[in-house]
């Protein structure tokens, strides 16, 4: 049974097993990755270089993770976590179901141990929480139980306390996918956004999984409502993006501006009856391509423009 499970995990990590092209493309290759640890605040760390950023919260209760990185990077992520603390991994929160964020679940879960009562004996592994929509897609993908969330939520906001800190799980509908969560550490004033926000690329919009450009913009606007700069539009609430460097409200603001400008342009072009090819030829992303664009790889500029075009052309897109 175990070898079969591993094969299924590999299939999920290396191919579009969920029927979601974007998800498989996000997996990419992790062979040359370089996992790094950055302290964000007391008790909060960011592990970068594992495909997607992993947030680590450490305290007396143990370790809480937000996302896990890719499956192939699970051991390296675990080794990086162990440079921070040897405490047990109790809880993993998945911001969504894609392999760059959730691929390492099996490795990290089995290295952990949830807080359980009753007659449970031995190690149960860490508890895993995700939005119900993310769980549904992961379940449909034929993953083994060890790689699936153990708990779900389906409301706009879910919360609990861990390490003496209020933790808010905020569902953001129809953004990167239809099952996105942002995780706010209220005392530490840190928020992990998943792939709603990135400093390395245009927002990835998984239309097949319910994502939309207007949902991404709504999510970025909600993020800006939550973040409060300490002074002069920086510091204060710190933001751990799905991938890329550590940020604050100033960075989110620039990103929101860029995405909104592009959406408005494509919407204007679509309203004037331009076809997708005409919109692409008009280069609505021109001034941002040098910073966020790509002609190759898992998420190209053309794919982004197409996702935006489909989003603004769809009836009742907002």
């Amino acid at each position: 049974m175990r070898p079969v499970s591993c094969l299924v995990l590999l299939a999920w990590a290396g191919a579009p097993a969920l029927g979601v092209v974007v998800a498989a493309q996000e997996n990419g290759t992790a062979a040359a990755a370089d996992v790094r640890v950055l302290q964000v605040r007391d008790g909060i760390y960011m592990v970068a270089g594992a495909g997607g950023n992993v947030t680590v919260q450490v305290g007396g209760d143990g370790i809480l993770l937000v996302d896990t990185g890719r499956a192939a990077m699970g051991d390296q992520v675990l080794a990086a976590i162990r440079t921070i603390s040897n405490a047990p991994i109790r809880q993993i929160v998945l911001t969504h179901d894609h392999p760059d964020s959730a691929g390492g679940v099996a490795t990290l879960r089995t290295a952990g141990d949830a807080v359980l009562g009753g007659n449970f004996g031995g190690r149960a592994g860490a508890a895993i929480l995700a939005h119900e929509n993310a769980w549904l897609r992961m379940s449909a993908g034929g993953l083994p139980p060890a790689a699936l969330p153990t708990d779900t939520y389906h409301v706009r906001r879910h919360d609990f306390s861990f390490n003496g800190e209020p933790v808010e799980i905020l569902h953001q509908p129809r953004a990167h996918t239809d099952g996105d969560s942002m995780v706010l550490f209220r005392r530490s004033d840190v928020i992990s956004t998943g792939d709603i926000f990135s400093t390395t690329r245009y927002p990835v919009i998984d239309v097949a999984s319910g994502g939309s450009i207007n949902g991404v913009i709504d999510a970025l606007n909600r993020l800006l409502e939550i973040t409060i700069p300490r002074t002069l539009q920086e510091d204060g609430t710190l933001v751990i993006p799905g991938d890329g460097r550590l940020c604050d409200e100033g960075d989110v603001n620039w990103y929101r501006y860029m995405v909104t400008v592009i959406r408005d342009r494509v919407q204007d072009m679509a309203t004037r009856g331009m076809t997708l090819e005409q919109v692409k030829a008009a280069r609505p992303t021109l001034e941002y391509d040098g910073r966020y664009g790509s002609e190759t790889g898992p998420w190209t500029t053309e794919m982004f423009i197409e996702a935006v075009y489909r989003g603004v052309s769809a009836p009742q897109s907002r």
Partner: protein, 285 residues
């Protein structure tokens, strides 16, 4: 007598050692409050600000020009834009500056120069102690991370980890990949401050600017608090910007002053003397 001789020799040795060792830490003392001779660049960087569509002197590439062409001044009224200070890349255009050394408590050596400007009281530390730069994953700031190195009497400062920010207040902006290299010279009571912005995302060549400051011992840098507020009701999430080709004011400045539009739009080629001849031939002059 013997003790006195030893004392004199010791004192001379110490003086000689200080004379040799001192300049290695700081060739020139930049401490003080300095007034920015902001009139040097005239209207563009005084209170009125630059005109819309005047990119002369800026080696913009196509992307940088496109960004400026669609910028709207109304964007700055959006709450998240209201309290953005001038980034380090814009300091020379932002008024007066105070500079003082940060001294190591134990060694008494100067480990950094602390700088503050008038506008928003933005602050920078220029580290002189050879510390490494933050990792690539670290946060970017408006002031960035700066290191300094003395080369004779010239302080050369290199700044990375910058947020996106303005280069000119008419939409010319740099990306968060910009690197700022500055050189400061002191000539008695004057500073010459040279800044070089390197940003291949929006510029074909480095953007080079200079400014002069004079020592002003009575200068005060007042507090500059800023609290963002909604000042204009807009639909949620709306951000003012011009759609490409729809800014009717874009060429007003060029038309008013008879500046060829190609020159007004900037670019590396337009900065060279040969361009003037080129324009002259095109207009038959």
């Amino acid at each position: 007598m013997e003790r006195l001789t030893c004392g004199v020799i010791g004192g001379l040795a110490a003086t000689l050692a200080l004379a040799v060792a001192g300049p290695a830490l700081a060739q020139v003392d930049l401490s003080g409050t300095w007034t920015n001779l902001i009139h040097e660049d005239g209207q563009p960087y005084r209170i009125g600000g630059p005109n819309i569509g005047d990119y002369t002197g800026h080696p913009l590439n196509e992307a940088g020009r496109a960004r400026a062409n669609t910028w709207s001044a109304s964007r700055e009224t959006v709450p998240e834009f209201q309290c953005i200070p001038h980034p380090a890349t814009y300091w020379q255009n932002a008024g007066n500056v105070r500079i003082f050394p940060v001294v190591d408590d134990v060694t008494k050596g100067v480990v950094a120069l602390h700088m503050e400007i008038h506008f928003f009281r933005s602050a920078r530390d220029i580290w002189l102690d050879g510390r490494p730069r933050p990792p690539a994953d670290a946060r970017h700031t408006w002031s960035g991370f700066s290191t300094g190195e003395w080369k004779g009497n010239m302080l050369t400062m290199t700044t990375t980890h910058l947020k996106e920010g303005r280069v000119s207040r008419n939409g010319i902006e740099h990306s968060d990949r910009a690197v700022l290299v500055e050189h400061i010279f002191r000539h008695r009571d004057h500073l010459t401050w040279v800044s070089v912005i390197q940003d291949p995302v929006y510029f074909e060549e480095p953007v080079i600017k200079t400014r002069t400051y004079f020592l002003n011992l009575g200068l005060q840098l007042a507090p500059y608090p800023c609290v963002a507020a909604v000042e204009i009701d807009r639909p949620e999430g709306a951000i003012p910007h011009w759609l490409p080709g729809q800014n009717a004011s874009l060429f007003d400045w060029a038309k008013r002053w008879g500046v060829p539009v190609e020159a007004a739009m900037g670019g590396a080629r337009t900065l060279l003397p040969e361009f003037r001849k080129e324009i002259g031939r095109a207009s038959g002059q």
